[in-house]
């Protein structure tokens, strides 16, 4: 029998904030080219598929 889906909003928020900090630290410790190529790939694909 399938488990009931339980969504823990507070935990999800905490995990998202962890990633925000992780990514910001990546930006601070890598060159503009390194992080912005990844960001451009994400943003360009989102805009092209909109």
């Amino acid at each position: 029998m399938a488990e009931k889906i339980v969504f823990d909003r507070a935990k999800n928020r905490e995990e998202r904030l962890w990633f925000v900090r992780y990514w910001a630290n990546y930006i601070r410790t890598h060159s503009d080219k390194e992080w912005s190529e990844q960001q451009a790939s994400l943003i360009n694909s989102q805009l092209q598929n909109s």
Binding site: R21, W23, I27, D32, S36, Q39, L42, N44, S50
Partner: protein, 188 residues
């Protein structure tokens, strides 16, 4: 990113399609009016891993004639206004609302254009951060006010994440007393 002045940075970031759209619009707008870009795009410019459908730009109020000239410039360069077609109608709409401009044939992304009205709008115009990119200059809302506005006024999960992102990126360069003062001021 490198600080080249107290309120000026230079970046070698790869210019994405959203940046290109914003810079194209701003190259026209800056010929006609003082402006500052605020809210989500500021976080995205500094690396947030998300896109947005609209970019908020606050513009110093201008008269009907200069606005018509700006409007013609935008239309000639391939933009259209989603709210109204005639420049006079758009100008009247702007008295109480924001209007949106997109590239012809598209709806998103768009520039959400409003005249400065609130005190926080004037504060943003007065103290912008200049950002030099490989294809031009952008005037962005100062970071302390962006963080405070997101925390004290907007408050959604997305805005709180944007605020954390900016705090982390500008760690060691932010005036935390200024952020607190802005938050108290905005809550009044």
């Amino acid at each position: 990113m490198e600080f080249v002045g107290e309120n000026r940075i230079k970046t070698d970031k790869v210019i994405n399609d959203l940046d290109k759209f914003v810079l194209k619009f701003i190259r026209i707008l800056e010929k006609h009016a003082q402006y500052v870009i605020v809210s989500g795009y500021v976080s995205i410019f500094f690396g947030r891993s998300r896109a947005t459908e609209d970019v908020d730009v606050i513009v110093k109020r201008m008269g009907k004639k200069p606005f018509s000239e700006l409007y013609s410039g935008l239309v000639n360069e391939g933009f259209w206004c989603l709210n109204a077609e005639k420049p006079n109608d758009v100008f009247e709409y702007l008295e109480h609302n924001a209007v949106r401009f997109a590239e012809k044939g598209k709806v998103i992304p768009n520039m959400e254009f409003k005249f400065a009205k609130a005190e926080s709008d004037f504060e943003s115009l007065k103290n912008p951060m200049a950002a030099e990119t490989s294809i031009g200059l952008l005037m962005l809302g100062n970071i302390e006010l962006q963080i405070a506005f997101k925390r004290a006024v907007l408050c959604s999960d997305k805005d709180m994440e944007d605020a954390v992102h900016l705090e982390e990126i500008f760690k060691g360069r932010l005036n935390n007393y200024k952020i607190r003062d802005y938050e108290e001021w905005l809550k009044k």
